[in-house]
Homo-oligomer: 455 residues x 2
């Protein structure tokens, strides 16, 4: 094999970068579990028909074929594809075992997904998502809309990320408003408003007065609603009320929006802002209430890195319908650009905290005994691979970022003059393998974030 080159769209991490990713995974898991969300993992493959039924063929599904399929086998029968998100497999997982799950069922799911899209920054062919969803049997109370926002805000607040904004809106609010305004074709209005970020204002107005059939005053009122945003729920509500449109669905949506804002903001941190943004519609047809999007400061070009919403029917088996609410965090999409820009790094490239030095190959059992004693107390340790000069052994540790080198005493007795050196400061002290502890912040690799100050 000559030296291989990376595969475009299939990013892989160096060991130090993987430590940062693992930290993200740990924080997500710990936070989700602290709210009682159960871990679910689904298989990578789904029947191709089920993947395509969702009308998401633009997702560029990867189809699987066994290299050694039997000659007589119908290649189309039972054809499988790799999942392109975690929602379709989760809906199927719930239907498959609905009789033995307890509802409302709260799960998190952190796995890779695959899409055959053209690769670019923040867009990959294999990438990780971290989803939280709550699904009910027949009905799902509104307060769960607040709960998923809270759990995701709590997780994002604990991650080393640039300042981010969770943007909220409510489909009932905008649909009720358009209806109250007298719009005949509400979906057409929504499609036009969804283009606000991409088109000039006159072009959006043209769509509203053209396809969507509004008069100029109605079009202006739609743009006025979309312009409303803010972190103060009462103020947002007052601004909507000031537009003078009335509709029961609008009232319900607005009340829900304010409730979710208040609930999520309670768990926000200096780096996480929660705001209403009445421009957010999220194109996907199945959202029916709350919708969520998220922007990272300085990385707005990535689009929304954490999105979701409420859907009245996440799954249905003909007899029962399962409403849900959930948010999906684009883990790779967020993390990889931060790594490639050097904004996040690990304090070392290995888990090892202590390298036990080796005087001669004959001393290896003695060094192993020291290593085992430290390891037995939870300290990640390895023994030097060869009995080189101590200077070389220290460089071995230094290149990997291992903070401590242990020099075993002369004899096998544990009290025989052990010393440990902090190779960053050069400080070397007497120590005993049964009692010495590294400072807490050196026990595991740390994640170091250096984000440029934002205006």
């Amino acid at each position: 094999m000559s030296r291989p080159s990376p595969l475009s769209g299939f990013p892989e991490l160096d060991p130090a970068e993987r430590i940062v990713e693992q930290h993200f995974l740990d924080v997500l898991r710990e936070t989700f579990e602290s709210f009682g969300f159960a871990s679910v993992q689904t298989r990578a493959a789904e029947p191709l028909g089920e993947l395509l039924r969702k009308g998401e063929i633009d997702k560029e599904v990867y189809v699987l074929r066994r290299l050694q399929a039997n000659p007589g086998e119908d290649p189309a029968a039972g054809e499988l594809g790799l999942h392109f998100d975690l929602t379709v497999p989760f809906a199927r997982y719930v239907l498959e075992r609905s009789a033995r799950l307890h509802f409302p069922f709260k799960r998190y799911q952190i796995q890779p997904v695959w899409r055959g899209e053209r690769p670019q920054e923040g867009r990959y062919r294999e990438f990780w998502q971290a989803d939280v969803d709550i699904i009910g049997d027949g009905a799902l109370a509104f307060h769960h809309d607040i709960e998923v926002a809270q759990v995701m805000v709590a997780a994002l607040s604990r991650l080393p990320l640039p300042p981010l904004t969770l943007q909220l809106n409510n489909r009932r609010l905008i649909e009720g408003y358009y209806r109250g305004l007298g719009a005949g074709d509400v979906p057409a209005v929504m499609r036009a408003i969804d283009k606000i970020d991409k088109l000039a204002p006159e072009a959006v107005t043209a769509l509203l007065t053209g396809d969507a059939g509004l008069n100029p005053a109605q079009a202006e009122a739609c743009l006025a609603l979309a312009a409303i945003s803010g972190t103060d729920g009462d103020r947002v509500a007052a601004e909507v009320a000031a537009l003078g449109v009335t509709d029961p669905l609008l009232d319900q949506g607005l009340a829900e929006l304010v409730e979710v804002m208040t609930g999520a903001a309670a768990l926000a941190s200096p780096s996480v802002t929660v705001r209403a943004d009445l421009r957010i519609a999220r194109g996907l047809d199945y959202y029916t209430g709350t919708v969520y999007e998220t922007r990272l400061a300085g990385l707005e070009s990535l689009g929304s890195v954490c999105s979701g919403g409420r859907y009245d029917s996440l799954a249905s088996d003909g007899r029962s319908s399962y409403p849900g609410v959930g948010i999906s965090f684009g883990l790779s999409r967020t993390l990889l650009p931060l790594l490639s820009r050097g904004l996040l790094r690990a304090s070392r490239s290995v888990p090892t905290c202590v390298l036990v030095a080796l005087g001669s190959e004959a001393d290896r059992p003695h060094s192993e005994t020291v290593a085992a004693a430290l390891r037995g107390r939870g300290i990640p340790v390895e023994v030097a691979p060869e009995p080189a000069k101590f200077g070389k052994q220290i460089r071995h540790a230094d290149r990997r970022g291992i903070p401590f080198v242990w020099f075993p005493g002369a004899g096998p007795a544990p009290e025989a003059g052990h010393e440990v050196k902090d190779i960053r400061s050069g400080e070397q002290v007497a120590a005993h393998p049964d009692t010495w502890r590294p400072p807490a912040q050196d026990l595991r690799p740390r994640v170091i974030a250096e984000f440029p100050a934002t205006a």
Copy 2:
């Protein structure tokens, strides 16, 4: 969607089973890292040509195809397949970044792999493996053979598994022995001996005296070597010596075998036995020294659940060769049969330790405050989904295995008469959300193992 059925060969776990799997993953990771092994994850897909180059086409590779491949695209160009093990991708990963890795490089890798084989117990189309490997640049010292055995024995010892035996042999030992015996076609001898478990003794003798061209005395001597096994290295060495064959390669292999046995046995536990088994050859051509296999008591039908060995060239880029030694633990292959037989289970199906009860929907903010206080001290908590009768809320907890139900006091003041009930014992005591702690064993779900006593 009607109720879907499981896909044969693509096992999925219920939430409580997933908790057991997560425990396995945590123990493996923690142990591997305590020995300084770095985490690596590789992409799921490799160029198809590289997967097939290894001559493993009987592994039934899954080929990937983009559903929306461009019409003009050559379907064969750049074709990808899903990896069927973690060794091929790791070798490629190392070659790709050999200039920036530090050798010897120790990594662990825990990921799913895919093989289009006919599904049966212990054999799946999608399954998880946990590999540890150490790879050197140009050379790799022998003591790493002991190290990978140690780290795997340490991990297996900490897992809730039936008694298991790590079986060791050494390819140098058997090759040197056959050579010293005067065998002309050593690989043919090895192929015959590899069939000992499958064929009758006379059939193996026929292969040895037929294809392998040995005389009856030589054939008998080969079977005598294969019959040697034991946990005492010196005794095994004496039994081999007593066969009267001499060869320098045999001597080296035997010395290595005894060293690995001694090193690995030092970390074994009552449930993990380390023994030499001179029948083990492992068919794969690339092993050149130590070889490892593992059998589970009561699950011998699964074959070896943890296998590996030393290879003089794990990877090569034409200029440099990278020798390695590693072991792969068949995580799904081991865990899934234990789960399906009911030998392993979790103490509950959710991470939640405490359900905070809800007097009325208006009390939700108060119950949320209690939950946040407990959660802030690392206790997984959720609030009851609806203000049902307390008996119903207790049943909600009971069905999920949540051990504690918290009854918030009447008022918002924290001192206002909170009580917490252990729903297993029925004991209910006064408590304060800022200070109450569950017993340590109830904080997280526990894994309960019930293995039948073995003879």
